[in-house]
């Protein structure tokens, strides 16, 4: 218990030390958005007879008429109070938009990560147990395919086969069938909310919607996870302690799972953390293809129309999540390997 307490304490300290980085990200994104060409006021003043006056109105609305340092000061003050500004694109407060969309992204990404881990770890272990065999090569082939095919292609293919041709999957538009009634929102994760509400039919509908996009995402990240599992499994299978365990005559199963895999999982955890953070932000294409109301597609849309506030809010959110995920990885590390210290 003491070690866990110490780990958490160090994790807390580490979180505090990452605050300056977050602040840097905040200021940097703010400046970057304004340096990039493209004037949101001009873009949004696009009515058939929008003139200079209208552009000015929007500029004032967005606070872009003030000098840059003032804008920055106002923005920092607002962020300090939890106000991330307003999106021109949706007309809503950015904090509200992100709050509504983050659960959708998290639900999708976590499901995808789970599918990926559940398939990648066994694949990696199998490949490591017989390096150079047919199994090893077919795992490699499968992984290469997963990585080579861009997500929007695999997504569209899955839609084509399972929805368009076979009609198994529901129509690929968002998180839930449009005619379904939503459960009371408790977690924002539909599959959990439906369970809490005891609505199994709704749960099934939501799970079916989730399947194809999660699979599309998972296919893409199985490769790095399987490769790293294989590599670290090879190392630990060749290590002294495994040799010792073998010589003592422990069962094969026990050697592979308890000794080798437990040690091999450390780098997998690290990579899984990185993969998770990346997936959350980088899966714009999956969200677009499946009309998934997540944060990534929201940020991309905003970026295209130079809508500053959502992009800044999104980057801040991603940076925060990155920090948190890294902390979680460190803590898990500490639990998996008592020698690792969170320094």
């Amino acid at each position: 218990m003491g070690t866990i307490g110490a780990t958490l304490l160090r994790a807390g300290r580490r979180f505090v030390s990452s605050l300056p980085a977050l602040f840097g990200v905040l200021v940097f994104t703010f400046l970057l958005m304004r340096v990039l060409p493209g004037d949101p006021a001009v873009f949004f003043a696009s009515g058939p007879n929008a003139g200079k006056e209208e552009i000015e109105v929007i500029r004032r609305q967005l606070g872009l008429d003030k000098p840059l340092p003032n804008q920055l000061a106002i923005y920092l003050y607002d962020v300090g109070r939890g106000n991330l500004g307003r999106s021109m694109m949706t007309g809503q407060a950015v904090a509200k938009d992100l709050k509504e969309r983050l659960p959708a992204s998290l639900e999708l990404t976590l499901t995808a990560l789970l599918i990926a881990l559940v398939s990648a770890v066994p694949l990696g272990v199998l490949a490591a147990l017989r390096p150079g065999s047919l199994v090893d090569h077919s795992v490699r082939l499968f992984c290469s395919l997963g990585v080579c095919v861009p997500t929007f292609v695999s997504g569209l293919l899955l839609i084509y086969v399972f929805y368009y041709l076979l009609g198994f999957a529901p129509d690929p538009t968002g998180r839930i069938d449009i005619f379904a009634t939503l459960p009371p929102q408790r977690t924002g994760f539909l599959i959990i909310d439906f369970l809490l509400a005891g609505d199994l039919e709704g749960w099934w509908a939501a799970a079916r919607q989730l399947m194809l996009p999660a699979l599309t995402m998972a296919l893409f990240v199985i490769a790095p996870l399987a490769r790293i599992t294989r590599a670290s499994m090879l190392v630990s299978l060749g290590s002294d302690f495994v040799r010792t365990a073998r010589s003592v005559g422990l069962s094969w199963w026990r050697i592979v799972v308890t000794y080798a895999l437990r040690n091999a999982l450390l780098p997998v955890i690290t990579i899984a953390g990185i993969v998770f953070s990346t997936m959350l932000g980088a899966n714009v294409l999956v969200e677009k293809v499946f009309s998934w109301p997540g944060v990534a597609s929201y940020a991309l849309d905003a970026l295209l129309v130079s809508d500053y506030a959502p992009v800044q809010g999104f980057v801040l959110l991603m940076a925060t999540i990155f920090v948190i995920v890294n902390l979680v990885v460190d803590v898990l590390y500490g639990i998996a390997d008592p020698r690792a210290t969170v320094a």
Binding site: P37, P40, A45, E54, I58, M89, G91, P122, R208, V256
Partner: protein, 539 residues
């Protein structure tokens, strides 16, 4: 995590996938009475007046709010389109224009009610129109084009009579009241949400609809969907009948291929923004109804900035006009879906009509193009950039490639620039782009309106930065021309100047391809270039 555990979850996951049965959707609420419309865009406000409103927001507002009057419809080449010249009452039971053309008197329908049940009165009309010309909103610039500029012009005579006074007779005043912006708002309700720094309750109407329209908004999730319910008391469409569909679902589906799948599988009823190639193939399969209407109030241009060298030289512009691969572009970008604006023959070289736009007598003719380049003093050509925006990439990308290839043959080196939408509009606004693809739309497409808005002044819409005294004079004269024959003459004169000076090159009017279930009926091409849900019914 033990291996056994993961094996079990692996099995579970496989089972889930395998069992993914086509269970019928849980709450198939009388699907036939619901219109499910999918779009790549999104509704971002419930008040179309808010700066930054999307076209989908305009479309929704046509159904959630009423205006005093609305446009009729007419047949154009066998397709129903909006008719600018027929104005019918919407909230107005009748209207009268005084003989001198300075006063328009509206009699309101006595049975009209807002969605909360309160009657629509002339007070509401006054407040709504006052707001339109006073508040810093989109309606202001629009109503200006119909000489509606001040609250003093609007007068309540009695609860059901309303009067508009004009400074001079203006044929665009009445049509302007049928456009998107002059919505009639439940003023009592809106006022109760006004604040000192928001006297017109803009922040509230952005998220709440307070109208008397055919549909009332139930859920509004910007970027995802809008669900609206029929207002059974609404009877402004067919006399004494509410709109046909009981529910309306407007859903944002960003991926065009997915939209095509949805409509083909019968999960969506109607979509108007598919890729031309998908429309082509869906039409070929013959299972769906496809109505393609050339957007007769919109024009696509290859534009040149007449103030930037070398495009300040009229002969360079003429050279470009004869060097463009029109037919190839039309096929590659639109699959031939639209109305071309090139390749005409003008007898005796004069414009055959005073409308705008009309097909130009230009076609691909490299010898002519070379001769013009020579005349411009650049026989060996020059280098320039050619820009388009990412949002238009599906059609613009093949066009740009063809332009580059073709102009290369006469020594003009083209560097293609693909710009994010906001960047493109900024560059155009600052008049920085020499040569690019753009388009225009007019809600009230009359010849003088096009020329005044798109060929004069410094605003963004004057893409070619045209500054031509003669053109301006004729266009301004035509603005208040009451005599039809004379107006036609002025239109011809404008078209002649345009062709002679080749400010920019109108290339085509792309089709709006509405793809729908065969049961969907009543589609009309509207001035908003969006669907008016009130027109639709299911056979």
């Amino acid at each position: 995590m033990s291996f056994k555990m993961s094996k079990r979850s692996l099995l579970a996951a496989t089972a889930l996938l395998a069992v993914s049965l086509a269970a019928p959707s849980a709450h198939a609420q009388s699907r036939a009475e619901t219109l499910r419309y999918v779009t790549g865009a999104t509704v971002n406000t419930l008040d179309p007046n808010i700066p930054g409103s999307t076209r989908e927001a305009f479309a929704l507002s046509m159904s959630s709010y009423d205006r005093l009057v609305s446009f009729g419809r007419k047949q154009l080449n066998g397709k129903w389109v909006f008719d600018l010249d027929t104005i019918t009452g919407e909230l107005a039971e009748s209207f009268q224009v005084s003989p001198d053309g300075l006063k328009i008197t509206f009699k309101l329908r006595p049975d009209a009610k807002f969605q909360d049940g309160s009657p629509v009165t002339a007070e509401d009309v006054k407040w709504s129109l006052d707001r339109c010309v006073t508040a810093p909103i989109l309606g202001k610039a629009q109503l200006l084009t119909g000489s509606l500029t001040s609250a003093d012009q609007f007068k309540v005579i009695d609860p059901l009579t309303f009067e508009v006074t004009l400074p001079k007779p203006d044929k665009l005043a009445l049509p302007n009241l049928a456009t998107v912006y002059p919505i009639i708002i439940n003023s009592k309700l809106a006022k109760s949400h006004a604040t000192a720094d928001d006297p017109w309750a803009l922040n509230w109407t952005k998220e709440n609809a307070a109208g008397s329209g055919a549909y009332s908004v139930e859920t509004f999730k910007p970027g995802e969907q809008v669900i609206a319910k029929r207002n059974d008391a609404w009877n402004r469409g067919a006399p004494d009948k509410p709109a046909a569909f009981k529910r309306l679902i407007i859903q944002s589906v960003p991926e065009p291929a997915t939209r095509a799948n949805l409509v083909e599988r019968g999960d969506a009823d109607l979509v108007i923004d598919l890729q031309a190639s998908d429309v082509q193939s869906l039409e070929g399969k013959g299972k769906l109804k496809v109505i393609s209407t050339p957007q007769y109030n919109a024009v696509t241009f290859i534009s040149m900035n007449n103030t930037l060298p070398p495009f300040d030289n009229v002969n360079v512009r003429r050279a470009i006009a004869y060097a463009l691969p029109y037919d190839d572009m039309f096929k590659a970008a639109l699959f031939g879906r639209g109305a071309p604006l090139y390749g005409a023959t003008w007898a005796d070289g004069k414009p055959p009509s005073g409308s705008y736009p009309i097909p130009q007598p230009i076609k691909l003719d490299l010898d002519k193009a070379k001769a013009y380049l020579k005349e411009a003093g650049m026989p060996d050509g020059f280098s320039t950039t050619f820009s388009f925006n990412v949002g238009q990439a599906a059609t613009a990308e093949p066009m740009a490639a063809l332009v580059k290839e073709q102009l290369g043959k006469i020594g003009i080196k083209v560097d293609i620039q693909k710009l994010p939408d906001a960047q493109m509009s900024t560059a155009i606004n600052e008049k920085k782009l020499p040569f690019f693809i753009e388009g225009i739309v007019a809600w009230l497409p009359s010849t003088d309106y096009f020329y005044r808005n798109f060929y004069t002044g410094k605003q963004r819409w004057n893409y070619s930065s045209t500054d031509n005294a003669e053109l301006e004079k004729v266009a301004q004269a035509a603005r208040f021309e009451a005599d039809k024959a004379k107006y036609e003459e002025e239109g011809k004169e404008l078209n002649a100047i345009h062709y002679d000076q080749m400010f920019q090159i109108p290339i085509w009017q792309a089709s709006q391809d509405a793809v729908m279930q065969p049961t969907v009926d009543g589609y009309v091409y509207q001035f908003t270039r969006q669907v008016d849900y009130r027109n639709l019914s299911r056979k």
